[in-house]
């Protein structure tokens, strides 16, 4: 046993309990799930499950409702995470740097409050906000603007707004920290050179924040891909599948139609979608 090897082992030692626990309680169920995705396991109505190979995946790609769920998931993710939370979070962080202390405190409190309420509470709040006779339509009516039955005609927009409302705080905090980290002297040098605000943003702020943007996008996207409670409490994926994203579709198949095997296969495909997004972001982060 050479010294460096022993040192490596000793270093590994404190990690051992955590590693074993992760293998036992995380990797174990994950592997188990992958296995189930290739069977026709049902929650009820079946004596024993059998191996069906790729049948679940073939079924998914032929299933109109699955394709609908994929499209809606992409719409939901792009709208609420990439465009909504990310941009709004950045804008809030940038604006709050130049705001007075009380304005900053009030805005920050409100945005973060939306983030810390439990998902189900946020779901019900936004359900009452978007409801046909809810707060939003009452406001529109008072302003003599046309009202909309949001949860019925455009439920995917309603749940996307809801997710922006709820998740923007995270991006705001990340960007606030990152903006604080930009060295003052660089900005001052640019000012001396006569760079306008827009050019400073393009040539100093953005390059310095590139890594933060990438990390934030990745975390945001993965969180948004797995949103279930918010949509379930607002629309249950309805009406007629109009807001049925992949997690909701998965739940419907696995637990309401008791097709556990098929639901698990869909879960794996969702994992794949998340993996694709992550791979893209990682590439963006790498290019120095």
């Amino acid at each position: 046993m050479t010294a460096p090897r022993r040192r490596a082992l000793t270093r590994w030692l404190p990690l051992a309990p955590a590693t074993v626990l992760l293998l036992l309680f995380l990797a174990g169920p994950v592997v188990w799930c992958v296995g189930i995705a290739f069977t026709d396991t049902r929650l009820t109505g079946q004596a024993s499950a059998s191996w069906v190979g790729l049948a679940n995946f073939r079924h998914a790609f032929a299933d109109e409702n699955f394709r609908n769920a994929v499209v809606l998931t992409l719409v939901f993710t792009v709208l609420s995470s990439l465009v909504g939370q990310n941009t709004l979070g950045f804008a809030l962080a940038a604006l709050m740097r130049h705001a007075s202390r009380p304005v900053r405190a009030v805005t920050g409190t409100i945005v973060i409050a939306a983030w810390v309420v439990p998902e189900i509470v946020a779901g019900f709040l936004l359900y009452t906000f978007f409801h046909r006779r809810g707060t939003l339509n009452a406001i529109l009516e008072a302003l003599h603007l046309p009202t909309q039955n949001w949860l019925f005609t455009l439920p995917i927009l309603a749940v996307s707004f809801a997710n922006v409302w709820r998740g923007t705080a995270f991006s705001m905090l990340v960007y606030s920290a990152a903006l604080d980290g930009i060295p003052q002297d660089v900005t001052e040098a640019a000012l001396v050179d006569g760079a306008t605000g827009l050019r400073r943003f393009r040539h100093i702020t953005l390059p310095m924040l590139r890594r933060t943007i990438g990390t934030n996008l990745m975390l945001n996207t993965l969180q948004t891909l797995s949103v279930f409670g918010l949509i379930w409490s607002m629309t249950r994926g309805g009406p007629a599948h109009r807001s049925e994203t992949l997690p909701v579709f998965m739940y419907d198949q696995a637990f309401l139609k008791s097709l556990i095997g098929y639901g698990t296969a869909v879960a794996l495909l969702l994992l794949l979608v998340g993996g694709l997004f992550s791979a893209v972001y990682l590439r963006l982060l790498r290019e120095e």
Binding site: M1, R6, L9, T10, W12, L13, P14, A16, P17, T19, V20, L21, L24, F25, R42, L43, T44, G45, Q46, A47, H59, H131, R132, N149, L151, F152, R236, G237, G238, P239, A240, H241, R242, D252, F255, L256, K257, S258, L259
Partner: protein
């Protein structure tokens, strides 16, 4: 949490083994509390009883009744305990939760309150224990009506539960609104068209009132499939969903298209509530607590149990209800015999197959289903009796206005084909309904979607009658 001492103190001979051993011990110590549910099934003298608790916090009828039975059981069986395990959830979620509990002996309850439409499905999964050996020695079993016994008999001919009540379904209508719409107080529609005509009359002459409500779509769940859609379907032919002779689920049926056309008419002609409200999972609470008592709804296709809620001791007292509301049987499509349609389900007490305490669980069933407890429960919960001695009891026959009308429907009532794939069939019916109610699909198209869905999980027979 203590971990093993660092390996540096004594030069180890086989560090890898030591490390792994230490890690394993640590993991075991950490994992201990996570799996410390003790022996599967827990204490041998405690029987765990799982039941559904309503999401309506004012509704605690079952909880109160079971608490009383628990006291009685523990008094009569010294040293034994009855542990009540309520699951507060909507009906679909309750079923999912209990099925998951019954999958493993570690979490299986002993006694389960089971929706009879899931019995076949759960028997096929091996979740339930047949009770024929227990029933053979139980005097009271001969008291149960044949229709009720059919509810708890699985495909294999064995009996898997003891039913504690049944229900029937029909039309409730508001006589005051009817008078303003020029409709008779003794209204009895003969065909679907009569129902629609009355709804149109209300829409024209009594603005601001919802003319007609039937449960629709995935929000209400099984209520939509059974109380809404199958009430229509079973008026289009003898076995509209499943052919018991050929043991096949049916596709390509005109009756399905016609029933979907009826649903489409209700929503497209604005004879029902706003679709947003209709598709809301909590719509049943609104019907009982708001729309009917406040005179916002003229005709409701609903169950016999509604009246119970409005009694002085009910969850939403409404003194005038028996004067204001009339009752009518739901008609067949074109008035074909028997002219009336009703569907019945019900709940039963079943013993989990993976329970280690079947004998104790059975003793609880005997306590739950003594004649006086059965009568008490039927009356408390506003159910239809499943025992002849309860049905004949004066207290039952007068406990709520209209009970004789709904008991009379037992003669024509039908049961769902509660086979293993029924939960999926139900879900597919709900989706078809929702598609036509929202206007996303025409009835013919929604029926095709249903047929396609059906083929993906059931043995079907084309049958274009």
């Amino acid at each position: 949490m203590r971990t093993s001492s660092p390996a540096r103190t004594a030069a180890p001979t086989r560090p890898v083994t030591r490390v792994l051993l230490a890690a394993a011990l640590t993991a075991a110590a950490l994992a201990g509390p996570l799996t410390a549910c003790g022996a599967p099934g827990g204490d041998p003298d405690t029987v765990r009883v799982v039941y559904q608790r309503s999401t309506d916090n004012k509704y605690r009828i079952l909880d109160d009744y079971l608490t009383g039975v628990k006291r009685q059981f523990e008094r009569e069986h010294p040293g034994r305990r009855m542990e009540l395990v309520p699951v507060q959830a909507a009906q679909d979620d309750y079923a999912v939760k209990v099925q998951q509990m019954m999958r493993s002996p570690r979490t299986a309850p002993d006694l389960v309150r089971e929706d009879t439409s899931l019995i076949d499905s759960d028997v096929a999964s091996g979740y339930l224990r047949p009770l024929d050996d227990k029933l053979a020695g139980w005097q009271d079993w001969k008291r149960y009506l044949p229709a009720a016994k059919a509810l708890v008999t699985a495909e294999d001919g064995r009996t898997y539960g003891v039913p504690d009540g049944t229900d029937t379904r029909g039309l409730w209508f508001n006589k005051e609104i009817f008078a303003r719409a020029g409709l008779p107080a003794d209204w009895q529609p003969r065909t679907w068209d009569d129902v629609l005509a009355a709804a149109r009359a209300v829409r024209e002459r009594v603005p601001g009132v919802i003319p007609f409500h039937l449960y629709t779509g995935k929000g209400p769940g099984e209520a939509a499939a059974m109380q809404g859609f199958e009430m229509l379907l079973y008026g289009t032919g003898r076995d509209p969903l499943y052919d018991p002779a050929r043991k096949k689920w049916l596709t390509g049926r005109q009756g399905l298209v016609d029933a979907l056309e009826f649903v489409r008419t209700v929503y497209s002609e604005k004879l029902g509530p706003d679709p947003t409200d209709a598709l809301d999972p909590n719509v049943s609470t609104r019907v009982t607590a708001e729309w009917l008592p406040k005179g916002k709804l003229a005709i409701a296709l609903d169950g016999n149990w509604l009246g119970k809620n409005w009694q002085p001791d009910g969850s939403r007292p409404w003194p005038a209800w028996s004067r204001v509301l009339g009752r009518a049987a739901f008609p067949t499509q074109h008035g074909a015999a028997p002219g009336r349609v009703s569907l019945s389900g019900g709940w039963a007490w079943a013993v989990a197959a993976r329970s280690r305490k079947a004998d104790l669980a059975w003793q609880v069933v005997e306590t739950l289903q003594t004649r006086s407890n059965a009568l008490d429960w039927t009356v408390r919960d506003g159910q239809i009796a499943v025992r002849d001695d309860v049905a004949a009891d004066a207290r039952y026959r007068t406990y709520v206005p209209g009970i004789d009308f709904f008991t009379g429907l037992v003669a024509v009532t039908r049961h769902r084909p509660a086979l293993p794939v029924y939960p999926q069939v139900s879900s597919a019916l709900q989706e078809a309904m929702e598609e036509v109610a929202t206007g996303d699909a025409a009835p013919a198209r929604a029926a095709r979607d249903y047929d396609e869905e059906l083929r993906s999980f059931a043995d079907t027979a084309g049958d274009g009658r």
